[in-house]
């Protein structure tokens, strides 16, 4: 039996499940992180294996489908394509890196690392499910561990932040669920049988009436917009980030926000092309407003972590703008942006954690001259900032360029409005660099040391990705392009 015939996706999904249980119920608290690391490295290995076996442009692959609750058309269907593969890889990469980064966590280690693995289960599940029922279960499953993560290991206002996070995203989920049911019932009429299978629904959903598609699309968009998040339903994000522990922020911004974008491409545009064509302008408006609004608010921030949180809002606006173009390069750019933002923002939140940990503060005015004490950390922070502001040669540029080219095709010279973001983005990052890295070291910060090994390793790995993908984005783009074509399959302009 060839490797490809094994149920690879199920194995990838099950290993963190087993890991969660093991870590939760193990006796020796101190070994929790080691066990968790092992259980998170296996899915990483699996996703690399899957990537190597993946046939570019081959549509859904590694499919497993088993009937589950036949009477209402629920099945266990998992598969992967060019849209979900980068997301799967991103998830399985960031989880072990976060575990390493959180190596010196002292408080309730078993729960901490167990919950991280549980989040991984939910995230992998969302990206591989092709059955709405399964998709929704995983979608909600992600919330619970993250809620505890913020609530237990968070900062001073952790309870407020955790609950706000939960309520916001849950309201979004419920509205999304309504849309899913609408699709379920509407497709049942056309198909002649009721099913939650996404592929089956997708065969008929483009034929739904424009009015129905439009309404369903808006409902889905609301759900995904909360998750991404888009202005004005974004206010949970800064609070959640400010209070969350670093590993939580990394996963939250690095992968969880991408669930919104993923849903938009996988469900919104693919299944409801007429709805997307009808309301592309809503996506464009949300995207552009988010980009500029987020960037402007970044300029005003005093808390480094809050600034990075708002920059995520700004950068996820690129995803929405790319999606709204409904052309190949724009959509592919949006998908690429999800991946590259995941990598870059992970670096930025980790660096935030390092700085807070070493100096005891995240207040930009109190930090000064860190280069002298933390040259390695400063170098990585500079690379992260430059990648985030879209410097060519680093991965953020590739996706931004693609989105802008797509947007120029779609909106012509109007793109100067979102382009302002690039200037503001440079302003807040460069200004922050001047304030926290340059100048004389602020002696009040005490004895500050450079990166620990367990901090350096994950950061260095991510920096390698940033530089490599900046110069050579092909491995990723080759996978994404056919997926973008598939997303646009039903869109006829």
């Amino acid at each position: 039996m060839a490797i490809a015939d094994l149920p690879l996706l199920t194995i990838t999904l099950l290993i963190p499940v087993i890991g969660t249980l093991f870590v939760f119920f193990m006796k020796n608290e101190d070994n929790a992180k080691k066990l968790a690391l092992i259980f998170s490295l296996i899915p990483l290995g699996m996703s690399i294996l899957i990537w190597s076996l993946f046939e570019i442009g081959g549509g859904y692959q590694f499919m497993e489908s088993h009937t589950w609750i036949e009477s209402i058309g629920i099945s266990y269907t998992v598969a992967i394509d060019g849209l979900s593969l980068p997301m799967l890889f991103l998830t399985t990469l960031l989880i072990p890196l976060s575990i390493v980064f959180a190596w010196d966590t002292k408080k309730r280690q078993k729960e901490f690392f167990g919950l991280l693995l549980m989040i991984e289960v939910g995230l992998i599940g969302v990206f591989v499910s092709l059955d709405f029922f399964l998709f929704y279960i995983f979608w909600e499953l992600v919330l619970i561990p993250m809620y505890f993560f913020i609530g237990i290991w968070g900062g001073p206002r952790k309870h407020y932040a955790a609950i706000k996070f939960f309520i916001f995203t849950h309201v979004g989920s419920v509205i999304m669920l309504l849309a899913i049911f609408a699709l379920y019932f509407e497709s049942a009429d056309m198909l002649g049988y009721a099913t939650f299978n996404m592929m089956d629904i997708a065969t008929v959903s483009p034929n739904f009436s424009v009015a129905f598609q439009g309404a369903a699309f808006l409902a889905l968009l609301f759900g995904f917009a909360v998750k991404m998040p888009a202005v004005p339903v974004h206010t949970w994000l800064p609070d959640a980030h400010v209070e969350a522990p670093t590993a939580g922020s990394v996963i939250l911004a690095g992968v969880m926000l991408k669930m919104g974008g993923y849903g938009l491409f996988r469900v919104g545009i693919t299944m409801l092309p007429d709805g997307a064509l009808e309301y592309y302008w809503v996506m464009a408006a949300l995207g552009v407003v988010g980009m500029i609004y987020g960037a402007l608010i970044c300029l005003a921030q005093v808390d480094l972590k809050k600034m990075i949180a708002y920059s995520s809002i700004s950068h996820m606006g690129f995803v929405l703008l790319g999606a709204s173009t409904l052309n190949l390069i724009g959509v592919a750019g949006g998908i690429y942006q999800m991946f590259s933002h995941g990598i870059v923002t992970a670096v930025l939140f980790m660096m935030c954690g390092v700085i807070h940990h070493k100096t005891g503060t995240r207040d930009i005015p109190k930090l000064q001259g860190l280069i002298t004490k933390m040259p390695q950390a400063s170098f990585i922070l500079i690379v992260g900032f430059l990648a985030s502001l879209g410097l060519p040669g680093l991965n953020g540029f590739v996706s931004e360029l693609m989105v802008f080219v797509g947007a120029y095709e779609a909106y012509s010279i109007l793109i100067v409005v979102p382009l302002i973001t690039l200037a503001i983005g440079a302003a807040y990052y460069i200004w922050t660099m001047q304030r926290i890295l340059m100048g004389d070291f602020n002696k009040k910060l005490g004895n500050v040391t450079d990166l620990e090994k367990y901090e350096l390793i994950p950061l260095a790995i991510l920096v390698v990705f940033i530089v490599f993908l900046g110069f050579y984005p092909n491995p990723l783009l080759d996978v994404i392009y056919p997926a973008a074509e598939a997303v646009l399959g039903g869109v006829v302009i």
Partner: protein
């Protein structure tokens, strides 16, 4: 086998040197300087070989696919223009990196310096060799980052940190517009390759004005043209070698190079030429006036650089028919030599004096003869003293503008501005030279000495070129660098034109006036401030036409003020609305008398009402027990199944 086939090594060698110095520089002599110098020297040798190849065999291109499916590629394109730029950049880089041995000898961060210089040289060469606009833009941004890092090299100094930021942000404005132009070209033509675009230009020249101007906007930022010139004077906070290399001889020329490279687009949009010429003319004159009142020796040279860059832009704006292309690139080459010389000589002076302030100098000629004489040669060259290199190129620039005036009268005005600039240039350069080297030492607190050989030898080599490079125009340059068809100018022909005599008069006039004021003392400098009108003009020049103030107001009051407002809006209005909704939840909460913990709980409860239709369940949820949550989900699923049964789906 030809040498051009190895041209890909030209940017790669400095990049490898960068990595070696960055990682192992601390273990090497002088922080890794020999590695950087050797790398730059080998790029110079390769560039010379490439130049011969191109001279014999014509242009060369090689490329490979970069981003699959988009037609975007990584490649090298070498034609005459590229070959010229390669020689200029590698030669000046070599001189500056050798000079650095002396100048940076005592700096504790030499490793970082030589690593960043190597990175810069590699990026700059990549920019020149790129075969398409996107690749050019990538390196364009990389040189920008190197410039940022090197301006902020002494990052502990607040002025340096702030100058670095300013340089990055001001040029970024141009870069964003440049990128927009690139996106427009790509969408219109489906390629960004220079050669392919040139072929496509023949068929479709509609709607090119906007992309052409957007490309030019990138050049305005990078080459410090009005109104984005404000970053360059501050950039002098970096080491003087950096000023010489990046902010005088090479990187700031990237904008000029971009305009020259885009000539095949510009020739279809004559209006763009006019705008380029006007911006260039304004920049040249305005910057020259600001140089008049500087006391900082590097400040004079910085404004002079802006002014001379304006000169090049003015020439390029004269258009293809008037040989502006040849004149502009010729001036670029000469300026690279004499301005690098002037900066390095100024660095030698600063090295000896320990200050940039010319008021503390004076009488240095007796102490540092080599510096003094080489700087005199540089000053004569830039002032347009007959037969020096600056004389020929300045004359070609003015002559091309005069030719362009045959089609459009505005060029007469620009010509006059150019002549006035020539006069002012000669004046401020000799003001600088006399204040520094002649008379008596005004501040006796230091003991000047000549710089070491590592510094004076590059000065002498550059001085030879600053003096003699001008003759190259008649021996090959004009037949090598041209657009359309080559100009045929002879020395004899030059001196038959009254315009040549006018520009000689302007240069000698400036030198003469400076001599009277700052050497002979027969005219007191106070004549420039006699009377309220003159004082007002002087004040305006010292305030740099208040442009920094205007930009600061826009940035601080405008953008930053607006961002503070938006932040407040976000917290009070957007988030407040959420909390407002939750207030409604509090009312309901009171009714059931279960939740009464104020806004925080209210937030939860208000919204959860909508989603769960029951406070009790939520109360359990808040208790944080997973099983409660799971039971909600199971209840929900059960409800759905019932619903589906009722509607007859199952």
């Amino acid at each position: 086998m030809t040498w051009v086939e190895f041209s890909y090594l030209i940017p790669i060698i400095p990049f490898i040197a960068f990595l070696i110095v960055a990682f192992f520089g601390n273990k090497m002599k002088e922080g890794g300087a020999p590695v950087t110098i050797a790398a730059v020297a080998s790029t110079f040798v390769l560039s010379v070989l490439v130049l011969f190849d191109v001279y014999q065999n014509g242009s060369y291109e090689t490329s490979m696919n970069w981003i699959g499916g988009t037609g975007l590629e990584v490649g090298i394109f070498i034609d005459n223009l590229t070959a010229l730029m390669l020689i200029v950049v590698t030669f000046v880089s070599l001189m500056v990196s050798i000079y650095s041995l002396g100048y940076m000898h005592d700096d504790p961060c030499k490793r970082r310096y030589y690593a960043e210089i190597a990175l810069f040289v590699g990026s700059m060469l990549g920019l020149i060799l790129a075969n398409n606009f996107l690749l050019m833009f990538i390196f364009w941004e990389l040189v920008g980052v190197c410039s940022y890092l090197l301006i902020g090299f002494w990052y502990q100094k607040p002025a340096a940190a702030s100058a670095a930021k300013k340089a990055f942000l001001v040029t970024r404005i141009g870069d964003v517009l440049f990128l927009t132009g690139i996106a427009m070209l790509y969408v219109k033509f489906g390629t960004l390759n220079f050669v392919e675009l040139e072929h496509l230009m023949g068929h479709d020249v509609q709607g090119l004005l906007l992309p052409a101007l957007l490309l030019f906007a990138g050049a305005v930022g990078k080459s410090a043209q009005f109104p984005l010139h404000v970053w360059l004077p501050n950039a002098m906070e970096g080491p003087t070698t950096v000023s010489a290399l990046i902010h005088a001889a090479t990187m700031v020329k990237a904008g000029i190079y971009l305009v020259a490279r885009s000539y095949f687009i510009l020739e279809h949009v004559p209006d763009a030429f006019l705008i380029i010429a006007i911006i260039g003319g304004i920049t040249a004159l305005m910057a020259a006036t600001m140089a008049l009142v500087q006391y900082d020796i590097k400040g004079v040279l910085a404004y002079s650089t802006i002014s001379q860059l304006g000169y090049m832009m003015l020439a390029l704006g004269a258009g293809a028919h008037a040989f502006g292309y040849t004149a502009g690139m010729f001036h670029l080459m000469n300026h690279a030599f004499f301005k690098a010389l002037l900066f390095l000589a100024a660095g030698s002076v600063i090295h000896a004096v320990g200050s940039n302030d010319m008021r503390k100098m004076g009488g240095l000629h007796k102490h540092m003869k080599i510096t003094s004489i080489t700087m005199l040669i540089g000053s004569l060259s830039i002032a347009g003293f007959p037969f020096m290199s600056g004389f020929f190129s300045k004359d070609e620039v003015l002559s091309s503008v005069w030719h362009a005036a045959a089609d459009n009268n505005i060029y007469y005005v620009l010509y006059a501005m150019g002549v006035i600039t020539a006069f002012l240039t000669a004046f401020y350069m000799f003001r600088l030279w006399y204040m520094t080297f002649s008379g008596e030492q005004r501040d006796k607190s230091y003991h000047p000495h000549e710089s070491p050989k590592t510094m004076t030898i590059p000065l002498m080599l550059l001085a030879i070129l600053a003096a003699g490079a001008g003759f190259s125009f008649f021996f090959g340059f004009q037949d090598f660098i041209y657009f359309g068809h080559a100009p045929h100018v002879t020395i004899v022909h030059m001196f038959e034109m009254w315009q040549t005599w006018l520009s000689i008069a302007a240069g000698l006039g400036g030198i003469g006036l400076a001599t009277l004021v700052y050497y002979k003392g027969s005219i007191s400098p106070s004549v420039f401030t006699a009377g309220p009108g003159r004082r007002a003009v002087r004040h305006m020049l010292e305030m740099k036409y208040w442009m920094d103030e205007v930009y600061m107001a826009i940035a601080e009051k405008g953008v930053y003020g607006f961002s503070l407002l938006m932040d407040k809006f976000d917290r009070k209005v957007v988030d407040g609305a959420i909390n407002g909704i939750s207030s409604g939840g509090i009312g309901l909460g009171h009714a059931s008398n279960e939740f009464d913990k104020g806004v925080i709980d209210g937030t939860v409860n208000g919204l959860s009402k909508a989603s769960f239709k029951g406070g009790k369940l939520l109360w359990n949820l808040q208790s944080g027990r997973v099983q409660d949550y799971a039971s909600v989900m199971i209840l929900g699923v059960c409800g759905l199944i019932v619903l589906m049964m009722l509607t007859g789906v199952i």
